[in-house]
């Protein structure tokens, strides 16, 4: 097990390095430096500023310094837009917010998705199954950026039950709509995967044996069928996590929750390269780590995998 984790870690490192280097080169090749403004600076001043931020050094040295400061100090450097703030300050303001509603959304998606899938599979070809199928099908065309306006239309503008945006330190009524908007499509996919794999497992020989032994129904479902049925869900969790993190950009923009998504989009609109890069690398690290956790969990649970 240990060597498996080590091996996966070793492939994660080059992934992150490639991400950092590629985005650094991209940023470097962008037209106009970070300190180009409408008013041209005197050449000497510009040279001084460039020297202060290390921009006069050759590209490979700059990359080395950047990577070193990230690896050793987890320091993404100063923001190009907000001169008095570092990228770390900006991220540490927004990240907890994103993490809060992101993890709640992941939890909601898994809990409701799995429950719905299991209920649908246990009631195969009844109205419960068809309702779940209808929901999973509809949710395919309801990505977060469609759900968000529809929810606001219903709960804020028509019914007036929930505030249309804001965070206020994470009060419940501010979290509800972001979580629904973010989790719906993943909930649907998880439900669909659970349903089909549960149906497959319920038709397999070992379940028949368990039934023949006269085990109680609940025991069969929860002890014997659920665990193997959840393996495909687990392998979907990697992409789902990436989707949730990406979707948080929409949530932050639409509900003004103040997470890192809004930083990212504003950075993109204002060409604040260091902030965009910092967030891309942070998200990349998170993605790689989550994939690692999923892989390890998978190897741990699935008896067929020998490492």
């Amino acid at each position: 097990m240990f060597s498996f984790i080590l091996k996966r870690l070793l492939t994660a490192i080059p992934t992150l390095l490639i991400l950092i280097i590629v985005s650094f080169i991209l940023m470097h090749s962008a037209p106009g430096g970070p300190f180009t403004s409408e008013r041209a600076l005197p050449p000497q001043v510009e040279a001084n500023i460039n020297a202060k931020y290390g921009l006069d050094k050759p590209l490979h040295e700059q990359i080395f310094v950047y990577v070193k400061s990230i690896v050793l100090h987890f320091d993404f450097g100063p923001s190009f837009r907000y001169k008095d703030r570092s990228v770390n300050d900006l991220i540490s303001d927004g990240f907890p917010v994103t993490l809060t509603y992101g993890s709640i959304s992941a939890l909601v998606a898994v809990l409701f998705g799995v429950t719905m899938g299991v209920i649908a599979a246990l009631n195969h070809n009844t109205w419960k199954d068809y309702t779940a199928l209808g929901f999973t099908f509809t949710a395919q065309v309801l990505p977060n950026f469609v759900m968000a306006p529809l929810l606001v239309l219903l709960f804020t503008l028509q019914l007036g039950w929930l505030p249309g945006g804001g965070w206020e330190g994470g009060k419940a009524q501010y979290i509800i709509m972001p979580v629904i908007a973010l989790s719906t499509s993943y909930m649907a996919t998880i439900a669909r995967i659970t349903r089909s794999s549960m149906l497959e497992v319920l038709n397999s020989n070992f379940i028949r044996t368990a039934k023949a032994k006269g085990l109680p129904y609940q025991r069969i479902v929860f002890k014997h069928a659920l665990k193997p049925a959840l393996l495909p869900v687990l392998s979907y969790m990697g992409p789902a996590m990436v989707g949730l993190i990406t979707g948080s950009v929409i949530i932050d923009m639409y509900f003004s929750t103040g997470g890192i998504g809004v930083l990212f989009v504003n950075g993109a609109l204002n060409r604040d390269y260091s902030t965009i890069m910092g967030i891309t690398i942070l998200v990349g690290t998170l993605t790689v780590l989550l994939n690692l956790v999923v892989d390890v969990l998978y190897a741990w649970i699935d008896p067929k995998i020998r490492y």
Binding site: T11, V141, P143, F145, L157, T246
Partner: protein
């Protein structure tokens, strides 16, 4: 030895007759299965109608997509509602531009993103996967590890990074979507190639001294067509969703061009003023097109993918 002339002729006739019995090819089988799938046919009809709408629709438009109707500006809520008399069949947007023309334009751009994305996925993904699978060994290991690395990068963020750095243009959007589109396809194609590679006809080709390149192009790729079509059709909605996502944030298609994501975003911003048609029409086209694409993709998979039968 005297040959019974009559008997020989009969035999020849019989042979001719036997040849006239048409065998059903795999493709005819698949087409039959597809045409029996009501949801898939419904999806195909709907999608065709949407495409026709983008082609024929402009000739009925009374306003272009950039033109501002000054008579409407400032009182969009009352004057800009959908009506036949004013020529704004779908109403106007917040700036008094004709929503009918804008929806047509947005629809065609969104559809184009899907087509281009799947085209790149098919060409690059098929070749990449077929080469990796056929050559095998260290090359395969390296090529697939590279795809693994690419796939574990949050592509939406990298795509936005690309758009920011090289300018937010339609071409850049197409290039960006093309760059990320082929990873899944190459994995699927590689898996399929691995199983084709060990078949006898490949062995025969190798024995006959056919070069590797010709084997891939003449013997492997044609046998991948079915699975490639299925997965290309399943990938299209994903590209459209990705583009809409970026345009919703205002980072994709730029004015005066538009796309579903941008239109939905505009509509969402103004719905509190009661101009619900501004979100309704783009959302309607978005929804029915995605629905029909999912139906078509499922239908194609049922018709062509041998695994599910």
């Amino acid at each position: 030895m005297i040959v019974d002339q009559k008997k020989m002729e009969n035999l020849a006739d019989n042979l001719m007759a036997a040849e006239e019995v048409q065998g059903r090819s795999l493709w005819a089988d698949a087409a039959r299965r597809f045409s029996h799938n009501k949801a898939a046919i419904g999806g195909l009809v709907t999608l065709t109608l949407v495409v026709l709408f983008t082609l024929i629709g402009p000739s009925f438009a009374q306003w272009s997509n950039e033109e501002i109707d000054w008579a409407v500006l400032g009182q969009v809520k009352t004057m800009g509602a959908p009506s036949i008399e004013s020529g704004h069949y779908f109403g106007t947007d917040e700036l008094g531009r004709d929503l009918y023309s804008r929806v047509i334009q947005g629809t065609s751009i969104s559809l184009m993103v899907g087509v281009i994305g799947s085209f790149v996925a098919v060409v690059v993904g098929t070749l990449y996967g077929a080469i990796a699978g056929y050559v095998g060994g260290r090359v395969d290991n390296f090529m697939m590890r590279l795809v693994d690395i690419f796939m574990s990068i949050p592509y939406m963020f990298v795509l936005i990074l690309l758009l920011v750095i090289f300018g937010r243009s339609l071409n850049m959007l197409f290039i960006g979507i093309g760059l990320i589109s082929w990873f899944d396809m190459s994995r699927i194609v590689r898996g399929q190639t691995l199983s084709i590679k060990n078949k006898e006809f490949i062995e025969a080709a190798v024995a006959a001294g056919v070069s590797n390149f010709t084997i891939i192009m003449r013997h492997i790729v044609p046998n991948l067509v079915g699975i490639v079509i299925v997965y290309a059709s399943l990938l299209v909605p994903g590209f459209i969703l990705a583009e809409s996502f970026i345009s919703f944030l205002g980072l994709g298609v730029q004015e005066p061009n538009t796309s579903w994501g941008a239109l939905i975003s505009e509509g969402a911003r103004t719905m509190q003023y009661g101009t619900l048609w501004q979100i309704g029409f783009p959302l309607f086209f978005f929804t029915i097109t995605l629905f029909s694409m999912f139906f078509i993709g499922d239908g194609l998979r049922d018709a062509l993918d041998p695994k599910d039968r």
